[in-house]
């Protein structure tokens, strides 16, 4: 079910400001691709163009093509709502719905899709929470509010919620930046398991994390303040961190800026 993503000539704007310029890349299915780069380089913006969440912000628009197994996300007749169902997303800060229980949080997407059968929902809750390595911790309190969990548990709950709708791609926008080291480790382990089934793209500020979890790494940079962000290079993670082909990448990785 995992799909390949092919991006070509993609630029994104906020009103009149160009945030990212002319990005082309391929993301392999069943792999983890990490986006790294200094603040403001547009890596999160780019991530949000991959499930059409970018255009949710008033005045934001996108040019270019994103192919999901040959189907253009920005093609005519494509429904952004359907895109977001196919390409799931996990956000920087855990954001379970505060008024819902753990159970309701996991099935929120299915409920929207019109799934009502209790047996189906029960099954999905169990498999999704197991998939997110959270089942054992919460199985006795599924009807408690999701907001009562710890930060790391909340983030795994959000992952469970995202995978419950069976997406083909999972986008993660700095999923560990608000978490403590132990929770971070748990999420990183989970990413390693999830890549068996999903195409995963993760934005991270933490280069060790990129090195630990990803198969391929893309480095983004911007020429200066106010300039749009660009993709500098994309290669196997190992190569990027040992022998990058562009000088800027090496400078960034070795801590000379950023």
């Amino acid at each position: 079910m995992a799909k390949r993503i092919d991006v070509s000539g993609l630029s994104a704007y906020y009103g009149g400001t160009k945030a990212i310029e002319d990005i082309s890349m391929t993301v392999e299915p069943r792999s983890v691709t990490a986006f790294i780069g200094p603040s403001g380089c547009g890596k999160s913006t780019f991530l949000r163009t991959l499930n059409r969440m970018h255009e949710v912000i008033p005045g934001a628009r996108v040019e270019g093509k994103v192919l999901l197994d040959d189907e253009n996300l920005y093609g005519a007749g494509v429904d952004p709502v359907a895109v977001r169902r196919t390409v799931g997303m996990v956000f920087q800060r855990p954001n379970p719905f505060p008024t819902m229980s753990i159970y309701e949080n996991v099935v929120a997407g299915l409920k929207l899709a019109g799934v009502k059968k209790k047996a189906v929902l029960d099954g999905v809750v169990e498999s999704s929470l197991k998939g997110a390595n959270l089942w054992n911790e919460v199985k006795d309190r599924l009807n408690k509010p999701g907001a009562g969990l710890s930060g790391g548990q909340q983030q795994r709950l959000c992952i469970a919620r995202a995978i419950a709708v069976e997406p083909q791609v999972l986008l993660m926008d700095e999923p560990c930046s608000a978490l403590d080291p132990i929770s971070t480790l748990a999420i990183e382990d989970l990413i390693g398991e999830l890549k068996e089934r999903f195409t995963i793209v993760i934005v991270t500020h933490n280069m060790q994390q990129a090195a630990r979890v990803s198969d391929r790494t893309a480095f983004f940079n911007l020429a200066g303040v106010g300039q749009p962000g660009k993709l500098i290079e994309l290669d196997d993670t190992q190569r990027i961190f040992s022998n990058p082909s562009v000088q800027a990448t090496e400078d960034y990785i070795s801590g000379r800026f950023g």
Binding site: V81, R85, F91, N95, P98, A113, P145, R161, V165
Partner: protein
């Protein structure tokens, strides 16, 4: 001043209320006491003043309740009929004063209920329109306009209601009578008469409380964390589904408290009702028929010619109104407080 040691802020729970007396704790350790004594005095005086103001507010509230209760007691003890179930209002009858709130309570509740039925859904819609649907260029000025309208005096709503709304509602009234007359409620016994009925009052009250309910719920909708809206959208929700999953549950206590505020206004509205309603001491479920009355309207209308007992009787009506609005506002507080505990962790 700046050379004196920092004052002792641990006394946040409040220095002794007896102003002018230096707190004993400071005597032991203050060397340059003239400066320090001054600042202590200043602190005590200022604290006394501000705490005193707070207490004054409480005293006023207590006095309102106390005086109204006292006056109503006088009135009700002289009432020759049952205060709760009597329809008429004739307190200044020297031989046999009789008055009761049955018609007034009915009219107040019915008109406020009609107002709420109309205003709450529409106000919620407008609030969503401003916070989530309208293009920015419209949303901002429109929100501003709604705020301004909240400030329009009720006498002007009343004037407009009586001279503009009433004649323009005649068509609707006869239509309701003709096609929905079988419901009994919408039956008109006197078709064609000016629509100075509880129904019209309800519509006018709805228009009057619309801006308040809108303004409060709009603020709540705006405070819905973006993260929750995006979470819903990322799950593949349409805009309406996003609002149902993320915005409305989060905003529900806000809508409730906004509605309670509006309800309080509608229950206590005086002059607009007095302007529009053609009152009588008839209790009728035909809400399109002129007649009936509300607490506040009755007080304003009867006050001019009321004698001593008449005034006390009106105080009794005011007391009932006071208690009702207290209960409504208190309930709103409780609902909000409880919801906060439940959903506060991540908000």
């Amino acid at each position: 001043m700046t050379s004196s040691p920092p004052p002792d802020f641990s006394e946040k729970s409040g220095p002794p209320a007896s102003t002018g007396v230096r707190p004993p704790a400071s005597t032991g350790r203050s060397g340059q006491s003239s400066l320090k004594g001054n600042s202590r005095l200043g602190d005590s005086v200022f604290f006394g003043l501000s705490a005193g103001s707070g207490i004054l507010l409480l005293v006023i509230m207590a006095a309102i309740a106390g005086f109204l209760l006292f006056r109503s007691g006088i009135a009700i003890s002289k009432d020759h009929t049952n205060f709760l179930t009597t329809f008429g209002w004739d307190p200044d009858n020297i031989l046999k004063p009789s008055f009761g709130i049955a018609v007034l309570a009915f009219g107040t509740i019915v008109s406020a209920a009609i107002a709420m039925l109309i205003a709450v859904p529409i106000a919620t819609g407008i609030a969503l329109f401003i916070s989530h649907y309208a293009p920015r260029r419209i949303a901002q000025p429109f929100a501003y306009l709604v705020d301004l309208l909240a400030a329009v005096p009720s006498i002007i709503y009343g004037l407009w209601g009586a001279l503009f709304l009433v004649p323009h509602l005649n068509g609707l009234m006869s239509w309701l009578n003709e096609y929905l007359g079988w419901t009994y409620i919408f039956k008109t016994t006197d078709p064609g008469a000016p629509a100075r009925s509880l129904f019209t009052v309800g519509i006018l009250l709805a228009i009057m409380v619309l801006p308040i309910i809108t303004a409060v719920s709009r603020e709540v909708f705006r405070q819905v964390p973006r993260a929750h809206e995006e979470a819903a959208l990322a799950l593949g929700a349409t805009r309406w589904e996003m609002i149902r999953t993320a915005v409305l549950p989060f905003g529900r206590p806000g809508i409730i408290s906004a509605s309670m505020l509006g309800l309080g206004r509608a229950l206590g509205e005086t002059i607009a009702v007095a302007t529009v309603l053609s009152s009588s001491s008839v209790l009728s479920l035909h809400i399109l028929d002129a007649g009936g009355g509300t607490f506040a309207q009755n007080i304003a209308l009867k006050f001019g010619e009321a004698g001593p007992l008449g005034k006390d009787a009106l105080m009794a009506a005011g007391m009932v109104l006071f208690v009702i609005t207290l209960l409504v506002n208190g309930a709103a507080r409780l609902i909000i407080a409880r919801r906060k505990e439940y959903s506060g962790a991540n908000a």
